[in-house]
Symmetry: C2
Subunit: 206 residues, 2 copies
């Protein structure tokens, strides 16, 4: 999901993708090369991404003109490597991947996937600008309900030694704070339903 999301912002090769994943997910929960490259192969086999030839003409990868603030970020990446460009020979060949229409559809499916659980909610939020406001609300609402259910389950008890009780309290607090956050996200969608950044290249989705 994260890979597909990043590729919506522009074509990228594996190495760069890894850096941006670390940027997005934190260097800790990030994938290793040993899992990223096979994952990209899988995605390619399934037609969700396609490897495009690194054209000598293009200024560099990832040059899709984006809405506002993302531009600065990309410019920074570009600058880092614009120095030693122009020689077609040099550096080991990079394999640049682009998301396909099937990939965009799959990304949308995954972003909307039923799952109030922890798995990838952060990633969903990170890319929810690609969804319509009502879809965003769906995602947020499911998470909110899951958090509420979880909080309701954790009633009373508080047994165990000092440390275990402290842990339970901390986890409760964490749950409540996430719930607050999600509720704030929901309000923000209601107050200002920003138009989605277009996900599919052509027409409007479904």
């Amino acid at each position: 999901m994260a890979v597909l999301g990043l590729l919506v912002e522009g074509d990228l090769h594996g190495y760069e993708l890894k850096k941006r994943l670390a940027d997005l997910l934190g260097p800790w929960s990030s994938v290793s090369f040993g899992s990223l490259y096979p994952a990209l192969s899988r995605l390619e086999r399934n037609g969700l991404v396609a490897s495009v030839p690194e054209s000598t003409e293009s200024p560099d990868v990832a040059e899709t003109p984006m809405s506002g603030s993302l531009g600065a970020e990309l410019a920074a990446y570009r600058r880092q490597r614009t120095r030693r460009r122009g020689t077609g020979g040099g550096r080991r060949a990079r394999k640049v991947y682009a998301i396909t229409d099937a990939g965009r559809a799959e990304l949308e499916r995954q972003l909307l996937e039923e799952s109030g659980d922890e798995r990838g909610f952060a990633v969903r939020v990170a890319f929810c600008r690609l969804l319509r406001p009502d879809q965003r609300l769906d995602v947020f609402t499911r998470r909110r309900d899951a958090l509420r259910a979880r909080l309701a389950e954790r009633d009373g008890e508080r047994r165990g030694d000092v440390y275990r009780r402290s842990l339970l309290e901390f986890q409760d607090d964490r749950l409540r704070r996430e719930l607050d956050w999600v509720e704030q996200l929901i309000r923000s969608v209601h107050d200002d339903p920003q138009a989605p950044e277009p996900l599919t290249s052509g027409g409007s989705p479904s």
Copy 2:
């Protein structure tokens, strides 16, 4: 680690272990039978646990007399099954596991393991009453330092759209709150260094 920790509190069979794991870790991050039973086999092969015959004499599993508050918890579990006990025949044979001395050593090793990272810090806290106060401090301090380092890394930037910025802020807040909690744990050890519940059966550890 969690399995070994639970077995310190008393002998248990797989099914009960699963329930207590769900209790401890939350039903979400808990293991399935398909991984628990193989895991127990592995632990047994490695001599960290041993399967003990379910003696018809013993009131039930997990009857180690514990310090204070744990007693009530265990009594509750006992009551639930004391109803239909006494018939040696009946129910499918349960395989009851007990932790060995090697298992206790391994548990201590894992609780003290160098790793400021997320992995199992919650479980370490849940069982840190088994450690000496100075060992507890080690564990907490490592986590504190890791959290500080992580917070220091996340300076400024805050790029991306509204949702991504909101996510980053939330994650920052979460990190800071965990840091606060860990610092509180450290202070609590300083203020009141409670004696450890004995981990090894015989003499004092190392």
